[in-house]
């Protein structure tokens, strides 16, 4: 069966986000479609990103130039309308501007990214009572725990689980996914708890619950604890201690290393890439109970993927990072930023070749994945050469579909462990027969 949850935010009309939870691995085709839908909506609606997160939002700063462009179109059209009319029709000039606004609004509605901003901006200008509203709580907690990002983290962990060469165990899979999801919620909440004044000053993050006073810091910490403790306990006791340890370590790495480091040194990007690489490793260890080369390979793929993803995204946010005091490569070492992104795009090709060597996939995997890997490398190269907004955006949006597609292809090319067993039996059988022949 397939579970589809619709999370609707009460009050503000937002695009319902759906995230699909895989139960039966055979339904991966459906997952791709849902995944894309989900990703598309995510990018079109407001959203938040940090390095460890897979998907980055279409930030306001990205949305607004687009809005301005639309406005220009409308304005130009309006100007042409006025000219042929004689000056007597002066009152019409007021109408077109309102029309332009209305047209812009309707255009904006189809461009979903703007609508939530508009609806919320009216909310923002009012004074709000800081009272605990229980019916808003689900929405608030969803935003506090960055639920969409958590969903993506859980799906990378599921990918790790699915790629492990062991028979599929449903309970283990569900426990591992739930535990990972809870751990991710906890980590994200603590991250927001630490960053309130900085989030207030950045366009992308100024609508977070703690910034808007919708929840108190104490409650945020309690929520984080009530997600993190059961999550890690579930992983340690319900799955295996190794997965639990990795989960706890990842929470620590994200909240106590990556978050403070964001303001201290550009090395935070590498730490964040590790944070993103750990969930698939956790999925693998949940299935097999040990850290094999396969786990590290999957982690390596996610690690490398983070760089084109994040570096491309951060290229458009340089002003906010600079003002907010965040030490990011795109601000301080732009050349390095682009080099690293390109380097890791190429590394993805290399890692795809290593997969069959480690017996995780068949040799069809590097062949089939070559086109998408080459494409992202090409965009990485364009970003490296052009270093402008359009190339960074192209690379970023490509990274969004590249990862799910790569994981999907990897899964379909997974080397069935039954194949390996048969081979082993055959050899054993042959030996037996050979022995029989030798004996007189």
């Amino acid at each position: 069966g397939l579970f589809v949850w619709h999370l609707k935010n009460t009050g503000i009309r937002q695009i319902p986000c759906q995230f699909v939870h895989l139960c039966r691995v055979a339904n991966d085709r459906l997952i791709t479609f849902q995944y894309f839908n989900f990703l598309k909506r995510m990018y079109v609606t407001q959203y938040n990103k940090d390095l460890s997160q897979r998907a980055k939002p279409k930030s306001d700063s990205v949305a607004s130039p687009f809005r301005e462009l639309q406005q220009f179109d409308r304005e130009k059209k309006v100007v042409h309308k006025i000219r042929p009319i004689s000056p007597v029709h002066q009152p019409l000039s007021e109408m077109p501007s309102r029309n332009a606004l209305r047209q812009m609004k309707s255009a904006a509605k189809t461009e979903d990214s703007v609508t939530p901003v508009r609806a919320e901006s009216k909310d923002h200008r009012q004074w709000k009572e800081m009272k605990l509203r229980l019916d808003d709580m689900p929405g608030i907690l969803a935003r506090l725990s960055k639920i969409k990002l958590t969903a993506l983290v859980v799906s990378t962990a599921s990918a790790g689980f699915a790629m492990a060469p062991v028979p599929f165990d449903l309970t283990c899979f569900l426990l591992a996914s739930l535990g990972t999801g809870l751990a991710s919620c906890a980590a994200n909440s603590i991250n927001q708890f630490f960053e309130v004044p900085f989030d207030s000053n950045m366009n992308r993050t100024k609508n977070r619950p703690l910034v808007r006073g919708q929840i108190s810091p104490l409650l945020a910490v309690c929520f984080a604890a009530s997600c993190g403790v059961p999550g890690i306990a579930l992983l340690t006791l319900g799955v295996n201690p190794l997965t639990g340890a990795l989960g706890a370590f990842n929470i620590f790495l994200y909240t106590c290393c990556y978050t403070p480091m964001k303001r201290m040194s550009i090395a935070n990007t590498w730490v964040g890439a590790v944070v993103g690489a750990i969930p698939p490793v956790m999925g693998w260890t949940a299935a097999t109970g040990s850290l094999d080369a396969g786990a590290l390979l999957l982690g390596g793929i996610l690690y490398s993927w983070q760089f084109p993803h994040f570096n491309a995204l951060s290229w458009g946010l340089r002003e906010d990072y600079s003002r907010g005091g965040y030490c990011m490569m795109s601000v301080t070492h732009p050349g390095l930023c682009r080099r690293v992104a390109l380097r890791h795009c190429l590394a993805l090709i290399g890692l795809s070749v290593v997969a069959p060597v480690l017996d995780i996939t068949t040799w069809t995997f590097p062949v089939i994945s070559l086109p998408i890997n080459l494409y992202i490398s090409y965009l990485g190269f364009r970003f490296y050469r052009d270093a402008d907004r359009s190339s960074s955006r192209k690379l970023f949006f490509c990274s969004l579909w590249h990862l799910p597609m790569l994981l999907l292809v990897m899964f379909t090319c997974k080397k069935s462990f039954l194949e390996k067993e048969d081979k082993g039996d055959l050899l054993g059988g042959n030996h037996g027969r050979a022995m029989e022949i030798r004996l007189p």
Binding site: F193, V196, S200, V211, R212, R263, M264, S322, G325, V331
Partner: protein, 147 residues
């Protein structure tokens, strides 16, 4: 906020600091612990407001100066023929962003330390207040049940 309200009120973001001001409710029978919490939050709010308002103003000002100097070096005016404000593209602004970040690095380090300290203290005080209130409520309940 209305006079009968018994909660804190949070307002729209400040123009300069982008932080949302909070008006704190002072209950009639405020315990010393609750007063400490309220005062800590007020002080933190004031500190943050001061820092960010000044910082953002400095950013805008320095950005204007940078644009002006660059445009002058290129021989252009601040406003072009259509009366629109001339801007530099992102690549030219990148130098400014890098410069600004490195200039303010020490200031940010200091602020970070203070912010983390204040955040932890306030949250811890909130915990203490919540605990005290819960105990008070339990005692009141026991008394009522007894009666």
């Amino acid at each position: 906020p209305p006079a009968h309200s018994r909660n804190d009120w949070i307002g729209p973001p400040d123009k300069h600091s982008n932080l949302r001001p909070v008006i704190f409710y002072v209950p009639p029978k405020e315990s010393p612990l609750e007063r400490r919490l309220r005062e800590a939050r007020q002080e933190a709010q004031a500190c943050d407001q001061r820092f960010w308002a000044r910082h953002n103003r400095a950013f805008c000002q320095e950005k204007e100066e940078f644009i002006y100097s660059r445009l002058k070096a290129k021989g252009l005016e601040m406003r072009d023929e259509t009366g629109q404000k001339a801007t530099l593209n992102a690549e030219e602004m990148a130098d400014f962003y890098k410069d600004f970040l490195s200039k303010n690095f020490r200031k940010h380090m200091q602020y970070n330390r203070d912010w983390y300290k204040r955040n932890f203290t306030i949250t811890f005080l909130m915990g203490q207040v919540a605990l005290a209130r819960a105990l008070r409520w339990l005692r009141w309940k026991k008394k009522n049940v007894g009666n």
